[in-house]
């Protein structure tokens, strides 16, 4: 579905990372992890096509229309109601949805009572739920998550995680940048660990656990 082959990226002349290779398959949840400044978000932007890598190959077999992104920025227009926000993105993505469908989605994320309220009055958690509704509405084949849980209460996080699981079960590939590694590990199938400007580990979750233990012993 999506393949990265020895992707290397520079900002100006400064190396961000080199030789990242990655294979994304439908229904698989891949976690991108690593310390701050390791280039996780940059890698995500390369995967989503926002930036072109300096070298290496990104092979996409997916149109933009089948991709959805949920990050810490919510893409919510504060001047529009929750309903209008979703209507707008539905049109941008050419999804034919009537208002009942959208209300259904809002109910799913617990915002039905606020459908006609301006999103500008929403709290961070509510905006992120609205954003989640946008992503669910698109029914993507590839779901990109860039620390979507930041600043959310535990209920919202629980909701988020259950919806991610649903998406993966429905056959969508998920790529996930996360800081809360321990918490999210049980949801994932593959892990890519970035460290020292390169791919320090890439493999199954199980292998990752033992790799980490081995690393701890070394130190």
């Amino acid at each position: 579905m999506l393949r990265l082959d020895r992707v290397t990226h520079f900002f100006d002349q400064r190396l961000v990372f080199k030789d990242i290779s990655l294979l994304i398959e439908p229904g698989r949840v891949t976690l991108l992890a690593g310390p701050n400044g390791a280039g996780k978000t940059t890698l995500m932007n390369i995967i989503s096509g926002l930036i072109k890598p300096s070298a290496g190959l990104v092979e996409h077999r997916l149109s933009r229309d089948r991709m959805a992104f949920l990050g810490h920025s919510t893409f919510v227009y504060p001047g529009l109601s929750a309903l209008d926000n979703l209507r707008f993105w539905a049109k941008v993505y050419c999804r034919r949805l009537n208002d009942d469908d959208i209300m259904q989605l809002l109910r799913l994320v617990g915002l039905k009572a606020f459908a006609y309220e301006k999103a500008g009055y929403f709290s961070r958690g509510m905006s992120q739920r609205l954003s989640l509704a946008r992503v669910l509405m698109l029914k993507p084949d590839l779901l990109l998550l860039d620390e979507p849980g930041t600043g959310l209460d535990s209920d919202s996080r629980k909701l988020l995680r259950s919806k991610i699981k649903d998406c993966a079960r429905a056959g969508a590939a998920v790529i996930w940048v996360s800081h809360t590694l321990e918490e999210d590990l049980d949801l994932t199938d593959r892990i890519l660990f970035l460290e020292n400007k390169k791919q320090a580990f890439y493999g199954t979750t199980q292998a990752f656990r033992s790799w980490r233990q081995g690393k701890d012993v070394e130190h």
Binding site: D12, Q13, R14
Partner: protein, 226 residues
């Protein structure tokens, strides 16, 4: 970076040649070329004004070309070239305006006249001053480069329109300009050509020097990020 090193090595040669050229040009201006009948010695301004105006315009054209190439290739060298050329062009057009204004005072007894060439130069000066201001004020280097390249392209596309509209704004041309191109004596023509070539050599020398400076600045900046 082989082309870069050729460029760097040619700087001293260009500087020496430019200086020599300008000295020779002085001979042509003051001794070889005849004193013009009506304007007298003031006409000598022309030998400074014309090369300035020409090289200013050529520098802006370089900005245009470098910007186009940058948009296609994303080569940062092209971005530095457009910056250096814009700076030189701005300097030259400012000097051309100043000398043009002096000329206007001597020839038509006014500091400023709505002559299409003069007005076009002034508008260009404003546009490229805005261009450099824009470069200064965008922090993200990637974005700054893309944006200024786009501006570098549209700014030059605008030139013919500026010239046409400036000409139509005042449909009566000052008669002096009608005779300027054709009315040059052969000695004057030679002198102008010598001046243009001399300034051209100096311009490329300064341009290369500035390019090298910008290149080093970029490299130093990259050393200290993070």
């Amino acid at each position: 970076m082989s082309d870069n090193s050729i460029m760097v090595r040619s700087i001293p040669a260009l500087a020496v040649m430019g200086a020599a050229g300008l000295i020779i040009a002085q001979y042509f201006i003051w001794i070889y070329a005849p004193v013009e009948a009506t304007m007298g010695i003031m006409q000598k301004i022309f030998y400074f004004h014309l090369p300035m105006a020409w090289w200013g315009l050529i520098c802006f054209f370089v900005v245009f070309c470098a910007s186009l190439v940058f948009l296609i290739s994303k080569n940062p060298f092209m971005d530095r070239l457009s910056q250096a050329a814009a700076e030189m062009g701005l300097l030259y057009s400012a000097l051309a305006l100043a000398t043009g204004s002096l000329w206007a005072r001597a020839a038509w007894n006014t500091w400023w006249t709505w002559d299409p060439r003069l007005s076009t130069t002034l508008v260009m000066w404003f546009i490229y001053a805005g261009y450099l201001a824009l470069r200064q004020s965008i922090d993200n280097p990637q974005k700054m480069r893309a944006v200024s390249a786009v501006l570098g392209v549209v700014a030059f596309l605008n030139v013919p329109l500026v010239f046409l509209s400036a000409r139509m704004w005042r449909s009566i041309h000052p008669a002096v300009f009608g005779s300027k191109g054709g009315g040059l004596e052969p000695e004057m023509m030679t002198t102008v050509l010598v001046c243009i070539v001399a300034w051209g050599i100096l311009t490329s020398g300064i341009l290369f020097y500035r390019l090298r400076q910008l290149d080093i600045k970029d490299r130093v900046k990259n050393l200290f990020i993070f």
